[in-house]
Structure formats: structure tokens, C-alpha cells
Symmetry: D2
Subunit: 293 residues, 4 copies
Amino acid sequence: MTTPAPASAASGSEQLILTLSCPDQPGIVHAVSGVVTGVDGNIIQSQQFGDPDSGLFFMRVEADSPSGRGPVEAGMAEVGSRFGGTWRVEESGRPLRTVVMVSREGHCLTDLLYRQRSQGLPIDVVAVVGNHPDLAPVAQFYGVPFLLVPVTKDTRQRAEDELLDLVRAERVELIVLARYMQVLSPAVCEEMAGRVINIHHSFLPSFKGARPYAQAHERGVKLIGATAHYVTPDLDEGPIIEQDVARVTHADSTADMVALGQDVERRVLAQAVRWHCEHRVLMDGSRTVVFSR
Amino acid sequence: MTTPAPASAASGSEQLILTLSCPDQPGIVHAVSGVVTGVDGNIIQSQQFGDPDSGLFFMRVEADSPSGRGPVEAGMAEVGSRFGGTWRVEESGRPLRTVVMVSREGHCLTDLLYRQRSQGLPIDVVAVVGNHPDLAPVAQFYGVPFLLVPVTKDTRQRAEDELLDLVRAERVELIVLARYMQVLSPAVCEEMAGRVINIHHSFLPSFKGARPYAQAHERGVKLIGATAHYVTPDLDEGPIIEQDVARVTHADSTADMVALGQDVERRVLAQAVRWHCEHRVLMDGSRTVVFSR
Amino acid sequence: MTTPAPASAASGSEQLILTLSCPDQPGIVHAVSGVVTGVDGNIIQSQQFGDPDSGLFFMRVEADSPSGRGPVEAGMAEVGSRFGGTWRVEESGRPLRTVVMVSREGHCLTDLLYRQRSQGLPIDVVAVVGNHPDLAPVAQFYGVPFLLVPVTKDTRQRAEDELLDLVRAERVELIVLARYMQVLSPAVCEEMAGRVINIHHSFLPSFKGARPYAQAHERGVKLIGATAHYVTPDLDEGPIIEQDVARVTHADSTADMVALGQDVERRVLAQAVRWHCEHRVLMDGSRTVVFSR
Amino acid sequence: MTTPAPASAASGSEQLILTLSCPDQPGIVHAVSGVVTGVDGNIIQSQQFGDPDSGLFFMRVEADSPSGRGPVEAGMAEVGSRFGGTWRVEESGRPLRTVVMVSREGHCLTDLLYRQRSQGLPIDVVAVVGNHPDLAPVAQFYGVPFLLVPVTKDTRQRAEDELLDLVRAERVELIVLARYMQVLSPAVCEEMAGRVINIHHSFLPSFKGARPYAQAHERGVKLIGATAHYVTPDLDEGPIIEQDVARVTHADSTADMVALGQDVERRVLAQAVRWHCEHRVLMDGSRTVVFSR
């Protein structure tokens, strides 16, 4: 699973995911479904949404193509050009080449690797990158290379170069910050725009910053939460993919909230990663369109 | 709002909802979107689902039609015939002519009428029918006729006739059993098949029958629930539209569960009624396809 | 139910709620349970909590007292004095004399009055005060006086005086701001400190201020929420009693969020009011201890 | 942590958990708090509940004892005898000696071991017992012995003997059935009554038996659930400790429900195990009293 499959041979049918974002206008659905019909394909599932605020139209189609991927890409290229939009044709189920970045807390990493192995989470983890060595054994257990890249004031630039080298050498498609406690540099954010997912341990926009559970405890909230979002240079402000909460009481200390919050964090992050890898998340300015099942 | 609007005049654009169920096969989406394109219309939102178990395909489209409803109906008739399916074209936002049936507990009725008045729930309540007089003042407050139809062994047939007369005279499109504690006759079930929604005060299939909270308390469950479903002659077995739960503890008596459950019941029932009236619920054998937002 | 019952006659047993907050130290539970034992009473339910942060201890006891209320009050006075704490002895189930303040949106008012009548919410609504006349019919339906107190720059002082007159004349114990869109004056906040509950239509501390749903939509959050809190002069910063959330998607407009949010608001507010009236909420600095069931 | 600590030396204070179940009657709380006061101890947290149905009273106290455990046990023995109840004095935070039993699915085992290592779940896993070898590597990764005990018609008796030998040799205090797909024998159920926790992959009492997700899919429910309960010889009927649910739609296949359900299962099981090990769960006939935080 470490190498993307080539465009399927002529022999068999291929299951594809088509996505399109473009200015809203008549005829889009008909044009896209026409591409599928044109290859004698069949639409299995499809969702559309027109955003009245941004004036954009979003579409995701799962379809069988007896003629394979080539003619569908050709068709979508024509449609995308005609409607002035952004489009993609992806092989359904293909795992994305992923780097998971971690610090010391392992709940998200453990969960992602478990789900990848046992629950069909479509990621192909080419490496775990940690700025601490603590989680190397977890990576090892799942047979994934662990790369120790410490980050200090002096090594920050070198660390960043190492990461970009890895991303390019391994043709990385997705970076998941699984409780990685360092800030990614603007250069990485830019190169991987829309392809870096972070889990923030609060219900954003509440409690930005580094100590959200302590803040939550101090404020006396009755629910704590977690937020998975795309990373942008503007910290904790990227487009939100998924959020969830858990109930807490006056009897829960900050430490209790940390433990309770870990459950929410790993669940929310895994959900966001799954949706991203199934090409269900489309960018709508600073927001996301999520075509969840 | 008590009379369905006529097909819109040629002058203005009309917003329509198209639904289609048919055996799954290539070309359905293209054909339906072609109907919209053919009238120079625009698809606002659309959802599709193919059920691998039943082999059926389901589709719901919200579209603007500058040519009004007529040509869209003609187009869908052709498509329905070609693909061997069931189709409907509905005016978006038109409230359905509804009878709400009640006994003594008013939480669901109060909620439905409140939502109809203040939250745009698209029902047009032509009458509240009660087998007890208790809730007449609630109907009166909201300006809805209240019809007292007591049901005893002797009057059961007469009560049923009265209900069917009302349904026919008022061209009723939906009956909502809002904690109505009598069983509808097979004749009514048949005449209104797929158009009678009941709220059952348990998380079906747990605790069928008349005393679910007492059963739940006795069993010591930690969550109680409610289920909105279409009514079939087979009691508590109709297709489920929506369910939800609330947490309970050992300290909750049966009476506490009843009170807590009422919140879930009214929320679940209102959600199911809204989805039904927005034509989001399609029947898939003994199950439902719900194209929720 | 409009007048608090006098201390019960010697003849019958009385059910009481005892609460105590004091600096944490050994012997508190034993002292309080000794008060109950001393009157041949029986503890039905009891909860305690020691806050390691504030060093305070909180206790709530439901007990039967065959000797009535007097000797229990005497005992608690002694205990309170010995441990340097704040204590109360309340008749269990006695509804609190309540004023509900509203503007134009009726979902919370309708819900509170419905629950008071049909679900045993222990409030005795002596008046509904509105700065708009819109909700007078709702109050009238439930047989509650409606007092129109418009608030403009010129009338603000007079409105405040009118409210304080009402509070004093009617011995009001609780003010509920049921989507009241005006700010209470510091004078009222002070006189009724710890006895004014507001529902804020966001998941505080996210989205303070007047337009939380619009802010939530703009930020693209995936959950919206509501917060019931005690009112302090510091707007939207009072101690939180209860919070809850509802899921939203990219397809929900601000108006959709408003409608969905109303469900959360009324549920959260009713829960907070019930807990307050059952004397389950104790103040712990800027936080609350909630001895929920 | 494999050996329970001896009663603490005279030097230091010890944190204890006291539980008591007895017929409801006046004076219980005063008597128990008197035990704590008698050793110059301090109550940190305490909860009580009287069940009007069973007539039983339940109590849980967390207390510091400067005199250690001995005198508290002596005091509770006297109290238990006086009130005709069942009592325990446990060291707070002491992990219970636990056997986890598994078949092929590893999500619950992985989760329990992760939480034990990283989240302070107070279990001391002395062995993982599997009737298949699949999960041996997981046990190995966490440094826990794995015992393969296949179960066939012929080996059932031998397997049972082996398990009982292990339980006795290792002084096992808790057995967790973490998706163990065999039925425990009545002999084991009896010997370990109230100390075997199972996770059932449905929202009991819905969908008893072996294929709950298939049944749930067929019935078209909109929520699936999981139930952690004590094991009794009466299958799927033991006292419920905890339940939770997850939302599903028409688009979720049985396989999707299995994957979604695993999240609920592991969360519910871990919660139940934690509460059991913190001595928060008391048996009330066929129900449980759960003094959750």
C-alpha cells in the first residue's frame, strides 16, 4: 500500500471520487453526471451544496467507471474549464501518503495507527516524526519508521528542512499533527496548504493557545471539546473540519479534563482524517464543506 | 396557507423539490439533472443514495425552475417511466395539511404548534383530534380547531369513520400521533400509508408496548430514548425516521424518566415531522432513507 | 402555591434541603448528619465536594425531619457558625417566587411555563416582564400577569425602578432572563446577586456579545451551543450553571442555526432553573458546584 | 503495583474509599462519618442514595485517615453489623488485579492497555487470555503475559479449569471480557460474581445475541449502542453499568456500523472498568448504583 496504484488497466472497472468547486451556475450537476454517463459509468453516491454566502457550488461524486480513470479526468478537465472551477479525480479507497507528527502524548498516534491497521482508515503512514523520542516504540510496534527531529531555537531551521525533504522524497500527501506541540513554519504551511490537519485540544474558538484545559477548568465550563482543523499560518484559526465535546463537572480537575479530553481529541482527529482521505472535505474560504455520510 | 398554491404563474421562478426512487442503474442523475437543465433551471442542493441491499436508488433535488412546475412534472414523468421508479415534484416550503392526534399529554402538541408558529415548521394543522378533552385549550390558543373523538369499545368504529371523513374532507396529507394512546385501525393505516408518523416513548426495538419507562427503570438502563416512525398495522414495527436518547441514572425514578423522556420525544417527533414535510424521507422497504441536511 | 408554606406544624414530618459551604476541615459531614440525627430525621440523599483549588467544602442534604424545620435551622446555625460557613435550610419542592423577563422570542418563556404547569418545574411565576408586548398572550394563556416595561435611553431608570419595586413587593426569589435582550443594571445585579439566571445563545466563552450565531456561522464551527449562567455586572462572564451543544453543518445558514439553537437554549435554561430551584447549585468563586442527580 | 500495599504504617496518612449498602434507616451517614471523625480523618468526597424501590441505602466515601486503614475497618465492621449491611474499605487508587479475555477483535484490549499505561486506569493486568492467538502481539507490546486458551466442545472444561486456576493463583479481582466471543461457565460466573464485566455490542435490551449490528442494520435504527454490564449466568441480562450510542444513517452498511460501534464499545467498556475499579458501582438487585463523578 506504500505506492499509489497506477491508473487501472483497461480490463476492469474502477471506482472513482470526483470533486468540483466552482462559481454556482446552472448546469453543473448535469455536466458532471454527463461525464460519468459518457464513460458508461454509474453514480453510486453524490452530494452537492451551493453556498449562498460565497456564491460557490461544491460537488462530490462516487462513481464506477468501466473505462478507467483517463476519460473521466479528460471529461472533468473540460467541465472544470467550462465552469471555472477546481476539480479532482481520485481513486476511491486509495490511502494517502501520510506523515504523523508527535511530541510526547501518544493517544492520537496510537489511535490513528490502530485504525489504519484494523479499521481501514485510508492512510499510508510513511513516517512518524517526533521532536521527542518517547513514541518511537509505538511506531515500531506498527512497523512504521520513526524519525526523531528535535526542535530547539538553534535547530528549528534544520528541522524544517528535514521535514520538507521527507515530504518531497516520499511524495507526502497529508501531514497530521497528532498533538505535536511545535508550530509549523510558514514555508511548510504554504507548501502543504490544505493538506495539514491539526487537533486542537479545545472547542475553538474558545481557549486558543497552549493550556486550554487549565483555562477551561478556571472558567468553570460544563463541557470540554476538541477541534480538528486545517493548519494555516494564522495559529488556531484554520478552517474547522470537525468538533466534539464531553461533559465535565465541578469535580473534574484540570488533570481529569486532560484525560477526558484525550478521548474527544483522538475521536475528532480520526474522524477528520477519514473524511479528508475520503475526499469529503472541500475548502470554502475560511470554512469547510464536509460531505459526511 | 390552508390551500396549496396553484402551479406558479409563468411570470416567476418556482422552487421545487424532486424525489425519485427506482432500481439502481446508470444514467439516473444525468436524466434528472437533464430535466432541470431542460427548463433552464438550477440545482440548489441534491443528494443521492444507492442501497446495495435493496438494489434501489434514491434521489432528492432542490431546484429553481424559471418555467414553473408543469414542464418539470412532465420531465419527471418521462424519467420515472423510463427508469421504472416512483417520483414526486413538490413545491418547496409548502406546509402539509396535517391532523395532530392527542390524548392527555400535551408536550408534543405544544411543541409542534409552537414550532409551526415561530420556527417555520412546514405544517398546516387543519385540526387537533383528541380522545380526551384535556388539550382543547392548547389548540384554541394556537387558533386550531379541536375535535373531541372519544374512543371506547362501542364508539371505535364511529371514531374511525369520523377520522376518515375528516381526512378526506380536508384533503389531509399527514397525520401526526403526538402521544395518542390509541391504535389506529388498519383501514386508516392503509389509506394513509407512509403519511402517519408516531412518536414511541422508547428507543425501539427496546421496550415496545405501553409502559416503556417503567420497563426501562426496572431494567436499569443508563439511557432512555424515543423513536419517531411511520405507522404500519404492525405495532411499533414501522420504518424508523429518527431516534435520540437522554442519560439517566440510578437516582431517576420512573416519573423522572417520564419527564426527561418528554424532552426527547418532542425533539425527535418535531425533527421527523420537519424532515417528512421537507420531503427528505424516502421509503426503502422497512427502512427509511433520510436526506437530512 | 403563591405563598411559601409556614414552618410545618408539629404534627407531620417535613422534607428539607440543607446546604452548606465552608472552608474544608474535618468533621463537617459528621456535624451536619448529627443535626439530622438529632431531630430523629433521616437522610434521603446527600452529596459533598471539597474543592482543592478554593479550599472550600460544599454539601447538600435532603432529609426528613419529624420535628419540622425549626430545630434543623437551629442546628445548622450552630454548625455554620462553628465551621465559618454559609448555610440554608429549604423546604423541599417549594417553588421559588420567580419573575421571567423577555423580549420578543418566546421559545424559552413558552417552555418554562409549560414545564411549570406540566412537568413540575418548581417555579411560581409571579410575573412575566417584557420590554416588548409580543409575548403577553403566552403569559395570559398560562394565567400569569404580563408587565410591559419598555426600555429606552429615557426610560431606563424608570424601568429599573419598576423592576425593583416588583421584586420587593412580590418577595421575588429568582429572576430568569429568558432571551431578554437588555442589560440589567448593576443595582439589580447587586440586590439579586446569585439569583438571576441568564441564557446566553452560545457556548461561552466562545462568541460573547449580541450576535453569536452569525459569528458561529462565519467561523464555520461544527457545533453550536448555549450557556445558562448567573448574571454578574461583568457581561457574559458570570458563573456557568449548564451548557449544551447541537451539531450543525456547512449547509446550515445563520437562520438555521438560530432555529436549532433555540432547542438547546430552552433545554439548557430549563435545566439550570430546575437545578437552582432544587438548591443543587452552590457558588464557588467564579464557578459553580452543581449537585445534579 | 502487583501486590496490594499493606495497611499503611503509622507514619503517614492513607486515602481510603468506604462503601456501604444496607437497609435504609436513620443514622447511617452520621455513623459512617463518625468512623472517619473517630480517626481524626477528613471526608474528601461522599455520595449517598436511598432506593425507594428496593428500600436499600448506598454510600461511598473518600476519606483521609491519619491512623491508616485498621481502625477504619474496625469502625466500618461495627457500623455494617449495626445496620445489617455490606461494607468495604479500599485503598484509593490501588489497581485491581485484572484478567482481560479476548477473541480476535483488538480495539477494546488495545484501549484498556493504553489507558492503563498512559491514563492511569487503575487496573493491573496480570494476563490477557485469548481463545485465538491473534492479539498476543498487543499484550506483548504492553509487557503483559498472553495465555492462549482455545475453546472447543472438547476443551471447554479444561479451558474453564485453566481460567479458574489462573484466577486463584493470581488472586484475580476482576475479569474483563473485551469482546470475548465465548460464554463463561456458570462456575466462573458464580466464583467471580459481581467481578466480571462484559461489553455487549448493542444498546441492551435491543439486539441481544451474537449479531447485533446486522440486526440493527436490518431494523433501520438511527443510533447504535454498546452496553457494559456485569456478567450473570443469564446471558445479556446482567446489571448494566454504562451505555452509550452513536448516530448512524441509511448509508451505513453493517460493516460501517461495526467500525462505528467499536468506538462506542471501547469507550463504554473503559468507563465501566474505571468506575468499577474506583469502587463507584454498587449492586442494587438487578440494577446498579453508579456514583460517577
